[in-house]
Symmetry: C2
Subunit: 229 residues, 2 copies
Amino acid sequence: MRNIGIIGGTGPQGKGLAYRFALAGHAVAIGSRSAERSAQTAYELNERLGGGTAVHGTTNAGAAVFCDVAVLAVPYQGFAEVLAGLAPRLEGKTAVCCVNPLGFDRQGAYGLYVPEGSAAEQAASVLSGSAVAAAFHNVSAVRLRDDDGPLEDTDILVAGDDPDAKEVAMGLAAAVTGRAGVDAGALRNARILEQLTAVLIAVNKNYKVNAGIAVSGLAPGARDRAAAA
Amino acid sequence: MRNIGIIGGTGPQGKGLAYRFALAGHAVAIGSRSAERSAQTAYELNERLGGGTAVHGTTNAGAAVFCDVAVLAVPYQGFAEVLAGLAPRLEGKTAVCCVNPLGFDRQGAYGLYVPEGSAAEQAASVLSGSAVAAAFHNVSAVRLRDDDGPLEDTDILVAGDDPDAKEVAMGLAAAVTGRAGVDAGALRNARILEQLTAVLIAVNKNYKVNAGIAVSGLAPGARDRAAAA
């Protein structure tokens, strides 16, 4: 079990992931710009988890100090600045980026231009002393919060250039889906995972659902064999 | 039932789709630069379909004349030139683009820069007299060829700005998966579907599989209700 710090843990995605990680037995620190808001979120989650103190609320800096794995779940606006402030505290640790740099116009969501290619590559550039992977972009925050049990119909796609960070993220995926994440290749593929969220936003609108992604054609157990390899 | 012309129908994706469309009862013309190669492909497919003449081989121009729906399955290299030559013959018809503009290097596959944003938007620009949708990017050519029966674990994501072209593509998807395609929003989202193939190529390499994509969180029948709406 790990100590997980959610940077931006009071937003829907960060809060939903915090719930799932705590439910799976990890210790979780909710980070936020506002320690009051994160304390409130931690209180709600601990209540929902049946009491106990698996989740605690703190600042983003506090979550960075606490964790051995940081989950980056802040909005893309201001993302690089937040990370730059946390870089010294995340040195030598693993960071899993689930940030989706999206804009919205009349046609729906679209991928914003990111000079480094993706938010995850930007994170790797700013957090040069950390091992970075990308995951959890495409899982519905509503289903993280509301579904009973693991999201067995859904896959967590994981991109990364650091094998250890990728393995950590693939393992954490089990807290969400009940099985290892799917190795989706190099960190640069994070750009595709980030933008894929724009497609899911369109699907959600067209069908009034909370859509996610699954990989077809993987034999049962293939994910876990790969995770163990 | 439709008259479908596969532009670039002797490649793996075009040939696999031709097989599925003919199996579903559509009349299919295989187009190719070489009428001899397309005749050979048509012969193979008709044999496999148990005789008959559901599939015929011709040139790309011949397939464009024959069809009411053109499926664009040529390699991205030379794509715009091929389309420009066919534009007059495709005027007033529907074109469904499944072209993936990908490059390959030591890290695997990656999305090539496309000035229009995506191959599908490029097609819409060159084929200004046709109605363009984008679909079938992410379905495995091997599974199209080898699987018995519809790929029920897989979804065909469809992007488009023209509602009629999108509806045609969503309907054709049933020939592959046994159910309507999933409305993935505006034509610009084709860029994401095209690049998503790079992720699936990474998954195929990492797990030795023929991966595809499914959308989770859609209730049974949701695809068909939307297709009928």
